[in-house]
Amino acid sequence: MITGTQDLARDLANAGVVRQRGFWRGLLASPSGVIGLALVGVLIITAALAPLIAPYNPLQMAAGPRLAPPSLAHPMGTDQFGRDVLSRVVHGARLTLLVGTVAVSLSLVAGLALGLLAGYAGGWLERIFMRLVDVLFSFTEIVIALACLAILGVGLTNAMIAIGIAAIPFYARITHSVVLVEKSKPYFEAGIAAGAGHMRLIFLHLLPNVVPTLIVVATLGISTAVLAAAGLSFLGLGAQPPQPEWGFMLASSRDLISRAPWMMIFPGLAIALTVLGFNLLGDGIREAMDPRQRRRQ
């Protein structure tokens, strides 16, 4: 997915189509776009209205019998403390959305700034910088995240930061490659020829043309961040009790897999659907923006 995303970014930048009109029409015409939009919409609404939707307080123990299978009173069953799994899943949407957006914002802003500067500056600075990014990239995100957590200590906030930091090389690299594409387009040279200064070239010519592509990438990036956060929580490095974080809920369902499989099924489903939602939305945007992709379908 990651590797594909880099190509996608370059394709989009090359096609110069991120700015095409009829984007929403295109998005709504693609099945992936519609389903993705719907899933992400449900997630956002769930997160926003969690206290209204959830039938119980997610932290309330003995809201029902312990380890009760799904029933009318507890549609997703209860956990080992008699907490309502549905309420926990609903509240978990908030954490998931928070982690996804915070981590991606962090890596997007830092990656964008670094990639933009390196791409614009060129020369030795660019060479050294991109080499460094390549190296960090080959460490893989999970190892960088582990290193960050080893330094910062565990916890959801630290996991969020770690995921954000770990993805910076990725965003820097994508930004850099998009900047190179944009820089090679004649309009950029036209800007120089017109006598534009550095600030003008970066902020008027480069940035507005780089950001839309990056937004697409970031949409896909949220799914990666959500997965990563759930993974870290699953490993015990992220969310701590009693946070109703989905990955953490999965981790605590492990020992109960044979007795209470619903504890594993529903949070897992929530993660998978969320990630699927952002992936489909990303694909939908890609299709809506890139005629080449559309033709391929």
Binding site: L59, Q60, M61, R66, L67, Q80, F81, V154, G236, Q240, P241, P242, S252, R254, D255, L256, I257, S258, R259, A260
Partner: protein, 517 residues
């Protein structure tokens, strides 16, 4: 029918695949545990997981009977001097080390010197105030103490006092080699995955609580690390392993199903208790400590998590240990009283919109994190907002001590669900006598009381001294008992394994084990 069919095919598969690497005549017992040992060197670790393995490789001068009383073992007899400062031991004749050499008084001296040597034993204070070891002849030696030490003989029955043969290779000892006189020889240790032990022909059972007087009745003991409880259970069911700790939530089902035997250890000596960072707010104030104790309801929590596998433990030391007295402790203890807890919290200036914030440190595993979540919810009702941090025991030991020593820290102090297993109330001395294992709560008054428990040999007087310490710890809300036992004390055993006993302090004894064909 289906189930047995699966079982059959699984058994066929495992015999075809799992065991083909081993000669057909070899009889293996496979024991799966959630974690690995830290070291093969009895001086370099404190975990129960390590201790259980030392117990197979090494032997001790004394041994515990099933009621946790020390009885003669490698030492067939001893005499104590009047003043309680000198002990003269006589070893059994003909004890053999795994390298074939005879075990002598020299080896005893070697072991004790090593425990106090350049890199001393992690539990060196438990040996007591040993001044010297004098070898009289091959079988007789004399140990001299600086002061009387009440727990001395019991310690010599504990695996921390495992006797090491002097023929060890100091470079590899502990990491890849080990030489003792226990029932099993070390074949190999693949860290994190498997320890292979082999029955030691030269072994003689001199005092351990087992009927077998010679070497174990099977060829090899394979100790595997399988961290996931469900995985262990699956492995048990398919016959890939013979003995393992099952998932707690499946124990009822296992009992009903009847395939596996459940063996529950007694006299574990295990105690789970609250302790606090008393060097800074909020727990420098006794009311905060008391509030935590009053707000939580261990009886309810262990009922939910462990059912009848654990018991409420009011005392700072566990049942079966000298000085434990439930009635005495309960009278001093903090019964569940959330209203009173709220009052105390309010006195400290905290309330519903402004909870008392702190962090609860918990040792990973054994469903303790679930217990912690229940406590967390109970504390929340008393306006105490406790974050949970889960970590392994080594980290937790370090962390608790660091918290206590870090006086200038401005974040709220922490409290923790600490766990210890010990055979004697002397543990209280090690924990609380200045400077203390964790640099925690200290007072001259407490130090004096603790010293008394060490040097008083006469049982009744010592009991009084121990009770005085208990009273001090509980009224000052320094060390508050929660429940017992707490880790690795339930064993699920396949039917083909017979004769497994779990001795005091959760030490499985394989001497009487036989494998049915």
């Amino acid at each position: 029918m289906t189930a047995s069919h699966h079982r059959l095919s699984a058994a066929l598969l495992s015999s075809a695949l799992g065991l083909t690497a081993v000669p057909a005549f070899a009889q293996d017992v496979i024991w799966a545990r959630y974690g690995d040992i830290d070291s093969l060197d009895p001086h370099r670790a404190t975990s129960t997981l390590s201790l259980q393995i030392w117990d197979q490789i090494y032997d001790t001068l004394l041994a515990f009977d099933m009621d946790a009383n020390p009885v003669p073992n490698m030492a067939e007899s001893w005499e104590a001097s009047e003043d309680g400062l000198t002990y003269r031991f006589t070893l059994h004749e003909g004890i053999l080390c795994h390298d074939g050499s005879p075990f002598t008084a020299e080896d005893v001296r070697f072991t004790i010197d090593r425990a106090f040597g350049e890199t001393p034993s992690l539990t060196r204070t438990s040996w007591g105030p040993i001044e010297s070891v004098e070898v009289i002849d091959d079988l007789i030696f004399e140990i001299t103490l600086e002061t009387p030490f009440a727990a001395f003989l019991t310690f010599l029955a504990d695996p921390f006092s495992s006797m090491i043969c002097s023929g060890i290779d100091t470079d590899t000892f502990g990491s890849s080699t080990a030489i003792g006189t226990g029932p099993f020889k070390l074949v190999s240790w693949a860290r994190g995955s498997e320890i292979v032990l082999e029955s030691f022909d030269g072994f003689r059972n001199l005092g351990q609580a087992a009927e077998n007087t010679g070497a174990p009745g099977f060829d090899r003991l394979l100790v595997r690390t399988i961290p996931e409880a469900q995985t262990r259970l699956a492995a048990l069911r398919t016959g890939t392993v013979h003995i393992a700790e099952p998932p707690f939530d499946d124990i009822d089902a296992i009992r009903t199903e009847g395939l596996l035997d459940i063996v529950i250890a007694e006299n574990t000596g295990q105690n789970v208790f609250w302790q606090f960072t008393t060097s800074r707010p909020p727990f420098d104030d006794i009311r905060a400590r008391q509030a935590v104790a009053l707000a939580t309801d261990p009886a309810m929590a262990i009922e939910i998590i462990y059912g009848d596998l654990s018991q409420r433990e009011w005392c700072p030391i566990s049942r079966g240990v000298f000085g434990n007295d439930q009635d005495f402790c309960e009278a001093l203890g903090y019964a569940h009283d959330p209203a009173r807890a709220r009052e105390l919290v309010a006195e400290l200036g905290f309330g519903p919109g402004n909870p008392l914030r702190t962090t609860m440190l918990v040792w990973t595993g054994g469903n303790r994190h679930m217990l912690a979540e229940i406590f967390q919810a109970q504390l929340a009702e008393a306006n105490i907002q406790a974050e949970i941090e889960i970590m392994d025991i080594g980290t937790m030991n370090a962390r608790v001590r660091a918290e206590n020593e870090d006086v200038n820290n401005t974040t709220p102090g922490t409290f923790d669900m600490m766990t210890w297993s010990w055979f004697d109330p002397d543990i209280l001395f090690q924990l609380w006598h200045s400077p203390g294992a964790y640099s925690g709560y200290q007072s001259p008054e407490l130090d004096a009381l603790l010293q008394e428990t060490r040097t008083t040999i006469e049982p009744e007087a010592r009991l009084e001294a121990v009770h005085a310490v208990i009273e001090y710890l509980m009224t000052n809300a320094v060390h508050i008992g929660l429940y017992t036992p707490g880790w690795e004390w339930v064993f699920a055993v396949r039917p083909e394994i017979e004769g497994l006993q779990v001795g005091p302090f959760v030490r499985p004894n394989f001497l009487d084990v036989t494998v049915a064909q």
